[in-house]
Symmetry: C2
Subunit: 430 residues, 2 copies
């Protein structure tokens, strides 16, 4: 007899199979009872009829509790009214473990309670669906870059220098010295792009935002491509191709999850190239027109981002930023040296910035001047400056935050639910 | 005109194309000179003939230095004697940047010097090949688990408790408390497997091995699958299927790199299922027979692993270990409670342990007793114990170290060369 998953049940109609799973729900109507089983790949209704199973099995109705683990033997049959179009006619049930009273019930629980039980909460329908989407977002991301000739070059997590101050950095006791946890793999990707042409890194990054609320993650995942011989325009081409690919992939492969999450997928279907590209100053004009409390020259706040993104039905790329609010390594616009060749991509529907990137300064003399202008020490950047000594080329890249992207695609405002075990200022357990 | 990569040059024979890259080598024979160009996807010989280019371009021979960045225009033609089977008849060369004297030369350099220049060293042929293999090992790993119904569930990096002592843990200043960097994502995968059935995590893990030499990495990458309703035997089935898949994938997709590395691929071709499975005591018999200085009951040292693996032409799985030297969560053998249902996989040719794993204890009472027997505090394990309260099932998993696997497949003994920017007790730069 085959042991199969709920997802594949349709392939075994009218053949006796075994399912391993957990009791999701029980419902009785006298001589019949229904067991909704979950196995991680889906849910299925198992029908237990009095005279089709042994008396011992039939009376399990009174023994089985939510989340008890069981092996169910039965025959799948097509049933259009059932979830997934299949139900299971039960022949036998074997109990592995009777669960104690399960703490998560259909009633409302507070966030703290649910987060304390995150190890169990991920079994729940909505959390399960969000993390399935996360899986596909990551898969699509890797596939996109792999298929387009990028080489994965992992950036290191430990870095020696807190070059831009320690405010948002986590410090680690590293034997007899200090180390810091990376906030971005970009500088290393620049070295990698000079060796491999097109590269990316994908891993956790860390930000110790002391001033922020419990809603901010201290540990989050970022994918950062970098391309040699690539200017800002081509960088934006890559960014929109990539985001389009991820969204379309999820529409295709997460239908059921997006339905569970009640996501309005018509909004996602519109995410197709070309994405609008506007300058920072055009974005500022939008804000002025809409009467936002915004000072030209400053960075956008969350509300500003929402006001801008509302104007468009797909992600919008804002480029050419005031150089003063951007990092030292960003190349200036040859047409206007007050502007940096940076680009942010704002997700639609108010989900905020999902991508930040730009073209990097490739000239040694200018770069060293910028480092000094920013009051940064030169020594820790010697290796980075080397990239401008030995065959420097125009190059660009960007970083996409996985959690924000998952939040947007799932249509959830709670970033803490887009990562399996969120870490915030107040939480590092479970 | 098409801008193409060296890798795709064969598709453009007799069509004028542009290549963006860096000067790898120059060689002159009077009225002809040869430029070996690298672009991250390969190397190609570009032939510059006196009367086929302008005098300005022809005299670049005297200007171009190693690693200078150039765009070369020309016509690819088949040339069986050339690397890749193609060479480029040059029409034009545009210089982006003339490199200063490149520090890495064909002469021998010491390891410290090369590691100080790791940001440049990754451009070198062998390092480049190793990191390309790493890329494919990681891609094959993800593909394998994705294709087999596993869900990626990232385990957290920050953990609250140093449950097994702080000796090998990195401590982080986490706002007003301490946090530690993860050594393994396993316990979280156990929670995930109960929600998703089959899961894996893939990310950096950290080990502060103070006593070890500069050869040990403090930061390395691990992939850790976990399966609900899975016993030790099935766990070994998954491990051998997975390792076979990765090795065969690399043989197919890294031919050129393995050739560059002068890897004896006939050894890798033998890596096919079934892999031998021997018990710990059978392994100990091998050591005794070979006269090793080994005490039964202890763990294998590096030399022991080599002596065992020499007996086989493919990876060997050693299972059923003395429970005393294995972790508290490992299930005991029902046939012999002195033994734990653990398994290590040793790579052939003396490359040592690449996998460690086993079946987990699923019984609440036994598990809590083990925690106490190991003098561990119960409180930090409450969430982990919950997994045995709410639908506990037999489950198993393992972890594979990416760097060791890359070292084995590449045939390199230097683990520090299998990661782009290695971190060791003495090195966190560049």
């Amino acid at each position: 007899m085959n042991t199969v998953t709920i997802q594949s049940l349709k392939d075994y109609v009218d053949q006796e199979v075994q399912l391993n799973g957990w009791v999701y729900h029980l419902r009785s109507v006298g001589k019949i009872w229904f067991l909704i089983l979950r196995d991680g790949t889906g849910l299925v209704q198992c029908v237990v009829v009095n005279n089709e199973v042994s008396p011992d099995v039939f009376q399990l109705e009174h023994q089985l509790t939510q989340e008890s683990s069981v092996t169910v033997t039965g025959i799948p049959r097509l049933e259009p009214r059932a979830v997934g179009g299949v139900e299971l006619g039960v022949r036998d049930i074997t109990i592995h473990h009777i669960a104690e009273e399960y703490p998560i019930t259909p009633k409302e629980h507070g966030t703290a309670f649910l987060m304390d039980h995150r190890h169990l909460w991920i079994r729940s329908k909505l959390q399960h669906a969000i993390l399935k989407v996360r899986h596909q977002v990551i898969k699509a991301s890797r596939d996109f870059f792999d298929q387009n000739g990028f080489t994965l070059v992992d950036s290191p997590i430990f870095t020696a220098n807190a070059v831009e101050g320690t405010t948002n950095l986590f410090k680690v006791d590293y034997f007899d010295q200090n180390a810091y946890l990376t906030q971005s793999g970009q500088l290393y990707q620049e070295a990698a792009a000079m060796a491999f042409g097109k590269t990316y890194c994908f891993g956790p990054t860390f930000r110790a935002e002391k001033s922020k609320t419990r809603r901010h993650l201290t540990e989050f995942w970022m994918i950062e491509p970098e391309m040699a011989y690539c200017d800002l325009e081509e960088n934006m081409d890559w960014a929109e191709r990539y985001v389009e690919y991820v969204v379309q992939w999820c529409l295709e492969h997460c239908q059921q999850e997006l339905q569970t999450l009640e996501r309005d997928t018509t909004k996602l279907e519109k995410v197709q190239r070309p994405f609008p590209r506007i300058t920072y100053h055009e974005a500022a004009d939008i804000l002025r027109r809409k009467g936002a409390d915004f000072e030209v020259g400053s960075d956008f706040g969350g509300t500003d981002e929402t006001l801008i993104s509302e104007e468009f039905d797909r992600p919008v790329m804002v480029h050419r930023w005031p150089a003063d609010i951007k990092a030292f390594y960003m190349k200036r616009d040859p047409q206007n040296s007050e502007l940096a060749l940076g680009v942010d991509m704002l997700a639609p529907e108010g989900y905020g910035e999902i991508i930040g990137g730009g073209q990097r300064e490739e000239d040694f003399d200018i770069l060293i001047k910028r480092i000094r202008d920013h009051d940064l020490p030169v020594k820790p950047f010697q290796w980075y400056l080397d990239l401008r000594k030995y065959g420097s080329v125009p190059h660009s890249g960007f970083g996409l935050g996985i959690e924000r992207t998952v939040a947007w695609i799932c249509g959830t405002k709670h970033i803490r639910e887009t990562i399996p075990f969120p870490r915030t200022i107040y939480r590092i357990e479970p």
